[in-house]
Amino acid sequence: MKAALAFLHKQAPGFLFEPNTGLIAAVLALLALVPLYAAVAGDPFALTLFTRIVIMALAAVSLNLIMGYGGMVSFGHAAYLGIGGYAVGILWKEGLGSGFLQWPVAIGASALFALVVGALSLRTRGVYFIMITLAFAQMVYYVAQGLDRYGGDDGLTIGNRSTFHGLVNLNDNTLFYYLCLVLLLASVYLVSRLVNSRFGLAIQGARSNERRMRAVGFPTFRYKLVSFVIAGALCGLAGALLANQTNFISPALMFWTRSGDLMVMVILGGLGSLFGPVIGTVTYLLLEEALSRVTEYSGLIIGPALLLVAIYLRGGIEGVFRKAAP
């Protein structure tokens, strides 16, 4: 797996595409103009769809920090979407509707969970790491199913979006969309600063050659752990946004297939490329939307199919497996 990832890295930036300036500008223009289009064309669904895309892109950006730059293949990243979402839902249910409370709790709880998962998983490698992160995410999934007060298996409808005491009104869908977009761009900027800082070079060094990193004097574990926590926190914010968008939370938020979707989005866009996850998410979710009008199995088809296409374009499956065998 490590070797397969290293192979994917050789392809970065850009796996299906080379995320060049032109492509990035085009995607940004598209995202900026969505509300205008929705208004002019009288197509509110476009706004709903793209709000989801932007939020999932934020989650993908956070996963890219640890998977793309840090080489940590977390197969449980959707857990943070769930934790962030449930923080909003649970607090609302308990009469605490303020976003000033809900959002920090969503971020903080996700960071704390990431700290625990990271502390227990980051000393393992390869498949073990993947399995442990997956197991923790599934654990949260089952815990959420058991929360009868908050809807259990059926989920919970949230009566109100987070309130910000007159500062912003999230019930305005256009405003909410732009807020999500700003947070996405801010997170891309944050990651761009992080990965070029001393901290970022430390985690990239650990991805590239952890043995050498230790030999030159880096206690790699603590840097990887902190990056894991930052990624968890960022994805927790995405979870809070998602719960606000849909006014609904359910265990399905963090089912393992959603973690898989996030991985596909990141890999499609190009591991360790700043805008890659945004482009990957837009592509993936638009394709999924288009396919879902044709077949109900779109989710089962699209991820594997896109990955196969991508792999085929770059050296073929055989190439991946050749490099995967050490």
Binding site: H9, K10, R193, L194, N196, S197, R198, F199, G200, L201, A202, Q204, G205, S208, N209, R211, R212, M213, R214, A215, V216, G217, F218, P219, T220, Y223, V226
Partner: protein, 254 residues
């Protein structure tokens, strides 16, 4: 405090049935250039791994500058002033040569919980890194990605990274592995220059280099020290000739 920079006592490590380090007692005074020779599989890389903290000792002790560091992790040992190079080149392949060395500098410049400023523009990291690159003659290749460097250049970079940590003890594992005659000669020059400022433990098959540079030589066979002493004595030692040097000469390496 003792006069030794490095001491090992009864250092032992087994891999299954193979005893790769068998009761090794070494003493390196400050400033010594100490060579370790021995046939393939003798346990030379294992010894370096044990000293660097990458391999855990089964028995025995390692003292560095008088302090027991047998249980310290590799990164702690590095920060205490112990650096190593690798027999099989071990670099940050998708980074530039300068990035590689700058990382080594960074590891010794306080913690890396600095999240905002561009580390590639940090002169406190880049300048020492450039100096270390220049020290091995790679300054012209600073911005080249490491996986595009020649094998010889990568071997030089191996050393530059180790030097950039500012070590008191340098462990070099076959720095000449795979080098042509000209590159070997350059490497030998470089080792000679390093010799004046540092304590060095060199594992090497190139006997000409070993006998030209070493103050003392230790011979390992099957994980055991069969001889240790000044080069001339080692060269004359019949047991060494039988176990190793004779074989080297027969193969035309002598």
């Amino acid at each position: 405090m003792t006069g030794w920079l490095l001491q090992t006592e009864h250092l032992t490590k087994r891999f299954g049935g193979v005893t790769a380090a068998d009761d090794i007692n070494l003493e390196l005074p400050r400033g010594e250039f100490h060579a370790v020779i021995g046939p393939n599989g003798a346990g030379k890389s294992t010894l370096i791994g044990l000293l660097a903290g990458e391999i855990a000792a089964e028995a025995g002790a390692i003292r560095f500058d008088g302090n027991d560091m047998t249980r310290l992790r590799a990164d702690r040992r590095s920060r205490l002033g112990l650096a190593r190079s690798f027999q099989i080149t071990s670099l940050f392949a998708e980074f530039s040569a300068l990035d590689n060395v700058a990382l080594a500098v960074q590891a010794h410049a306080g913690h890396s919980f600095r999240f905002w400023k561009d580390a590639r523009r940090d002169r406190t990291l880049r300048e020492p890194a450039r100096a270390a690159l220049a020290g091995v003659g790679l300054e012209a290749r600073a911005d080249t990605r490491v996986d595009r460097l020649s094998h010889g250049e990568q071997r030089q970079l191996e050393i530059a990274i180790a030097i950039a940590t500012g070590p008191r003890l340098l462990l070099l594992d076959e720095p000449m592995a795979g080098l042509g005659p000209e590159e070997s000669a350059r490497m030998q020059d470089m080792l000679r220059r390093l010799k004046s400022g540092m304590t060095i433990l060199l594992v090497e098959h190139d006997m000409e280099t070993v006998f030209a540079l070493a103050d003392r030589v230790t011979v390992l066979v099957y994980g055991r020290v069969i001889a240790s002493g000044e080069p001339a004595a080692i060269r004359a030692d019949p047991a060494v000739r039988e176990a190793y040097l004779g074989e080297q000469e027969a193969r035309g390496h002598g």
